[in-house]
């Protein structure tokens, strides 16, 4: 049996150097531990057998929620869903992102699960990812070569794979300041009412003025190897009053963007159909929140 090491560094620098060192070592892989709601399940199933576990929850920057003076939000990668829920302001500004993060698992899972873990686990069905994509979130990562930022949709590389390079740790998500008349929403299709993995997930973020959509972003999950930014759907919405024709065009764009698989959770035909249905429903809620102004 291989020896497992557990480390809980207090600074990002220590975490990055330990992570880089452990990944370089022969003793097997190293894993970042945030909430552990994916990692522990995978360890138990024997899918991953890390030699070193680096718990990042003692690092301030990755567990903080900050509303910047310009109105943007910085969410630490390891903030739990329950903590984000309890924040007095975040849910008012980004209700769609919050509902997406809060849909992850049960109340128990919420006590631990983080948006950073959701993104880095790189499941095509991660709930927070399409909502973050729609929100236009940018992530900050830190590695042996320093810090960089990239759009959230550039992180997933395929099921279980990210574009992070060896030694890199996801530090935070930055969600931009919101113009007036903005609203976002996230809906997913699951067979049960709770405790399920999304068969399709859809995030929509809109800005409206004078009854017309002035800006839009659409994220789709569980319909392709990675969560998608559906630019054609956004284009169909921008400039419209969210009339049936525009919604149908956006729904068609979502269906066209789908490249799903048949698996235990859904068929190709079903997922493709549902992507369009959810786009319409999610856009309606986002518009409601934007005040349809």
């Amino acid at each position: 049996m291989t020896e497992i090491r557990y480390l809980a560094p207090r600074t990002l620098e220590d975490a990055v150097s330990a992570f880089a060192a452990a990944q370089g070592a022969a003793s097997g892989t190293a894993r970042i531990l945030a909430g552990g709601t994916d990692l522990l399940v995978q360890m138990r199933a024997g899918v991953v057998q890390p030699g070193t576990i680096i718990d990042i929850k003692k690092i301030e920057e990755v567990t903080a929620i900050t509303e910047q003076p310009d109105g943007s939000f910085v969410i630490g990668a390891a903030v739990s869903g329950a903590t984000l829920h309890d924040h007095p302001r975040f849910g008012k500004v980004w209700p769609g992102v919050l509902e997406a993060v809060n849909l992850i698992g049960s109340k128990q899972v919420q006590g631990r699960a983080s948006p950073g873990g959701n993104l880095c686990n790189a499941s095509p069905a991660g709930d927070s990812v399409p909502a973050m994509i729609a929100a236009g979130a940018v992530v900050t990562v830190q590695g042996p070569n320093g810090r960089r930022t990239l759009p959230v949709e550039k992180v997933p590389a395929g099921p279980g794979r990210t574009t992070l390079t060896p030694g890199e740790i996801l530090v935070s998500f930055t969600l931009p300041a919101r113009p007036a008349g903005s609203g976002d929403a996230y809906l997913r299709m699951i067979p049960r009412t709770e405790m399920d993995i999304a068969v399709v997930g859809c995030g929509v973020n809109l800005t409206m003025a004078g009854g017309k959509v002035t800006a839009a972003r659409v994220g789709l999950g569980a319909v392709a190897p990675v969560p998608l930014l559906v630019e054609d759907a956004a284009k169909a919405l921008i400039g419209s009053t969210l009339d049936e024709a525009a919604l149908e065009a956006a729904a068609a764009a979502c269906r066209a963007a789908c490249n799903p698989i048949n698996d235990k959770r859904g068929t190709i035909a079903y997922r493709t159909k549902v992507a369009g249905v959810l786009l319409k429903r999610t856009a309606a809620i986002a518009a409601e929140r934007a005040g349809r102004k």
Binding site: M1, P191, T193, E194, Y270
Partner: protein, 758 residues
């Protein structure tokens, strides 16, 4: 036997606090996995990675050499029961059980035990399993019934023959009444449909677990959770060769079973590991192992054909039921073959069942084994029939209800049929009478459905001992594990009959060394049977109390009566002496002849069948194909509710299991024949937010052949829901579904086909 009527009762029918309650809400109650022993080590099972393979060799030497490993067992260590001679224990055939606990000639499903290891830690045991070298010759596998009965299907067992040829059809069962051809000839309307269901798991939250200590004197003690400690003893004895007298099986608290824990997987293996290692061995299954390798209930492929006259009189019914047995014979054919048409007075019946093996884990009992499958087909066809005839579906059932004294196709003659009462209870219920808004919002459709169900119920062997303590309290010991409140019912009965306060009665489940043989907790028999033996034991205790009082008063025992917890002089001596309470007599027990207590062991008889009728409202999100249950009402005749809360609880729990079966639960296999959803995230049992309150309409029509009038409760509630929900979905969507579960992709597919057709 005198039947106690409701009015005169203080405890029977009262919602008392259960005797084992405080332990269970404080975490004290010891379930199977909670036991530890000094020197205990851990056992783990190596399981087949293939769905179907010949085991050419097993080399355990590397595993045995791993530090910390104390013992390894394989099929060689389990008693072999040759395939050509059946050895039965209850309904279980040891030929199959010995091959189920450990693969012998072949691995028959992905997850089939191949070997087991005991080591000082769980991790070491798991590591050692990986070091066991097994040479397999992988064979083609078959999973679904339709594939398994094809002429060119891979054959699991050459020795199984159907119509003279090797076949995956392992057996058949027939129930017959009248002349089926003639029956259909008389019919004005005939409807025939084919239905499919998937295997579903019982889904108990407590995985199988046991701790076994085999001492150097050859005596073994087993702590495990099961639906019968005597079954654990007997089956372990048969599979290990240790005589029953040397095995003491102690029933741990059981964390749900629903039929599944009427057979064993781990106990014989743990015993052999303990014997070889000289250490107590604990084995606990993971959820993955539970889903993969313990028995779900059968999936099915059934055709039901029913013929009726224009006036709604059903004249003929035919059912053909193919059931999945899993990898070894033994699917619950008796359920669909016997129960499907039993509630109805049909002159011509032919019901045939086929037991089909395939490369899945061997099925185990699940609540009313097999009956829901048959009722699903039958009650859906009845719904179509009612529609076609223009008769209200409940009215159609009512008109055709079986009657007391009639003979059912499965052979029995009914002593008491209370089916009509359950139908009337629903007909008269506010739920059924209230209108349902069918199109509440765009994209949302609602529908209402009804269905009925039947279960045999059972009596059988039961033992009880009732002892008075020196301080005048009562200890009752029974031999049946308490799966959901049976101790509470027994405490109520005992307190009532002895006229003492409920909190003066303790109820204990004895182990195999401390109480007489008691058959399984299952088939809705425990409350019926144990209340009967406890009643008889209490009657004996009361006889003793009267004798003691008579002795003290120096009068004839015949001249003593027992009422309200005390002996009183009666007849000519009435009023002559102050009453002697149970407490006083207990205190004087030694002076008057010794300890007071009595036991009864009996093969109980007189169980009457259970009938249930349900109504359900569903709501469908048409674009997403999601079906949700809005309202559910279930009426059932229970004979007598000794503890109403636990009776309601049985009904509510059974209904929600039925909802899962109808809408979301199913076993999914991949191309290699591996179970693809062996966890609670992907095997979708209803969660709290999926279901509404379940209204249980408890009808109490006493069973005249039981001292308190009890009938079984636990099985019947799971029989109607599959069809009731399917009928409600039809009412909502105008489309019939002939396969379960009615999952969102399936619902949208059928709806899209409908749109295309329109």
């Amino acid at each position: 036997m005198n039947v106690i009527t409701p009015t005169e009762n203080k405890w029977i029918g009262a919602r008392t606090v259960r005797p084992d309650g405080a332990d269970k809400v404080t975490g004290r109650a010891a379930y199977a996995a909670d036991t530890t022993m000094p020197g205990m080590i851990w056992g783990k099972v190596l399981r087949s990675p293939h769905a179907h393979a010949i085991i050419k060799s097993i080399d355990t030497s590397k595993a045995e050499a791993l530090p910390g490993v104390k013992a390894v067992v394989t099929a060689k260590d389990i008693v072999d029961f040759p395939v050509d001679k059946s050895v039965m224990l209850g309904i279980q055939d040891m030929r199959w059980m010995c091959r189920n606990v450990m693969a012998r000639e072949k691995a028959l499903f992905h997850g089939h035990p191949i070997a087991a290891v005991a080591a000082t830690t769980e991790a070491t045991a798991a590591e050692a399993c990986k070091l066991i070298e097994v040479e397999y010759e992988v064979l083609p596998h078959v999973i679904e019934i339709e594939d398994a009965i094809k002429p060119d299907a891979p054959i699991l067992h050459d020795f199984l023959k159907h119509e003279g040829k090797p076949s995956n059809i392992a057996g058949t069962m027939v129930a017959k009444l009248g002349d089926i051809e003639q029956g259909f000839a008389e019919a004005d309307v005939v409807i025939e449909r084919t239905f499919r269901t998937r295997p579903v798991h019982q889904g108990y939250i407590e995985p199988q677990a046991c701790t076994v200590s085999y001492a150097p004197d050859g005596r073994a003690t087993i702590w495990s959770s099961s639906q019968g400690q005597f079954m654990v003893r007997a089956m372990t004895s048969l599979l290990t060769g240790v005589p029953q007298s040397n095995i003491r099986a102690i029933p741990a608290e059981i964390g749900g079973g629903f039929g599944a824990k009427t057979i064993i997987y781990l106990e014989p293996v743990a015993l052999l590991l303990s014997k070889k290692s000289g250490r107590p061995v604990k084995m606990v299954m993971s959820r993955d192992e539970v889903m993969r390798a313990t028995g779900p209930t059968s999936g099915s492929f059934s055709t039901v054909k029913i013929g009726a006259k224009k006036d709604g009189t059903i004249v003929a019914a035919q059912g053909t039921f193919y059931l999945q047995a899993g990898c070894l014979p033994g699917s619950p054919l008796r359920g669909p073959v016997g129960c499907s048409f039993a509630p109805y007075a049909i002159p011509h019946v032919l019901s045939v069942g086929y037991d089909v093996v395939s490369n899945r884990s061997k099925v185990a009992a699940y609540r009313a084994p097999g009956a829901p499958l048959g009722a699903y087909a039958t009650e859906c066809v009845l719904d179509e029939l009612a529609e076609k005839l223009g008769i209200d579906p409940l009215e159609l059932r009512h008109r055709n209800s079986a009657k007391t004294g009639m003979k059912a196709a499965y052979g029995a003659t009914f002593n008491q049929v209370t089916f009509e009462e359950t139908i009337e209870a629903i007909q008269n219920h506010e739920h059924y009478k209230s209108p349902l808004e069918k199109n509440p919002r765009p994209g949302i459709k609602r529908g209402r459905g009804v269905a009925s169900g039947f279960w045999y119920n059972a009596g059988g062997e039961s033992s009880a001992q009732v002892n008075l303590t020196e301080d005048g309290n009562v200890v009752v010991t029974t031999g049946h594990p308490d799966v959901g409140g049976s101790r509470a019912s027994i405490a109520n009965v005992t307190a009532e009959l002895l006229g003492v306060e409920h909190d003066r009665v303790s109820v204990i489940i004895g182990d195999t060394a401390s109480i007489g043989f008691s058959n399984l907790t299952g088939g809705s028999r425990v409350t019926f049977a144990s209340a009967m033996v406890v009643t008889q034991s209490v009657e004996k205790v009361i006889g003793q109390l009267k004798e003691r009082a008579a002795k003290i008063w120096k009068i004839d025992p015949e001249a003593v009566i027992y009422e309200n917890g005390a002996c009183r002089p009666a007849g000519p001596n009435a009023g002559q002496f102050p009453p002697l309470a149970l407490k006083d007599l207990a205190a004087k027990a030694n002076e008057t002849g010794g300890p007071i207590g009595a036991g009864v062991q009996l093969n109980t008889q007189g169980a009457d069948p259970g009938f249930a009728t349900h109504v359900v409202d569903v709501e469908v999100d048409v674009d997403l194909g999601i079906v949700r249950v809005l309202r559910y009402t279930a009426a059932q005749d229970v004979g007598r509710a000794l503890h109403p809360s636990y009776v309601e609880g049985q009904i509510q729990g059974g209904v929600v299991q039925g909802i899962g079966w109808a809408l979301s639960e199913e076993y999914l296999y991949d191309r290699q024949g591996r179970l693809d959803n062996a966890n609670f995230l992907d095997y979708r049992m209803p969660v709290c937010s999926d279901v509404p309150m379940i209204e249980a309409v408890v009808l109490e029509i006493p069973n005249p052949r039981h001292p308190q009038g009890v009938k079984g409760v636990g099985e019947a509630p799971i029989v109607p829901p599959l069809a009731a929900i399917a009928n409600a979905v039809y009412d909502a969507l105008g489309r019939r579904f002939y396969s379960l579960p009615m999952s969102p992709p399936k619902v949208t597919e059928v709806m899209d086909m409908k749109l295309a057709a329109e």
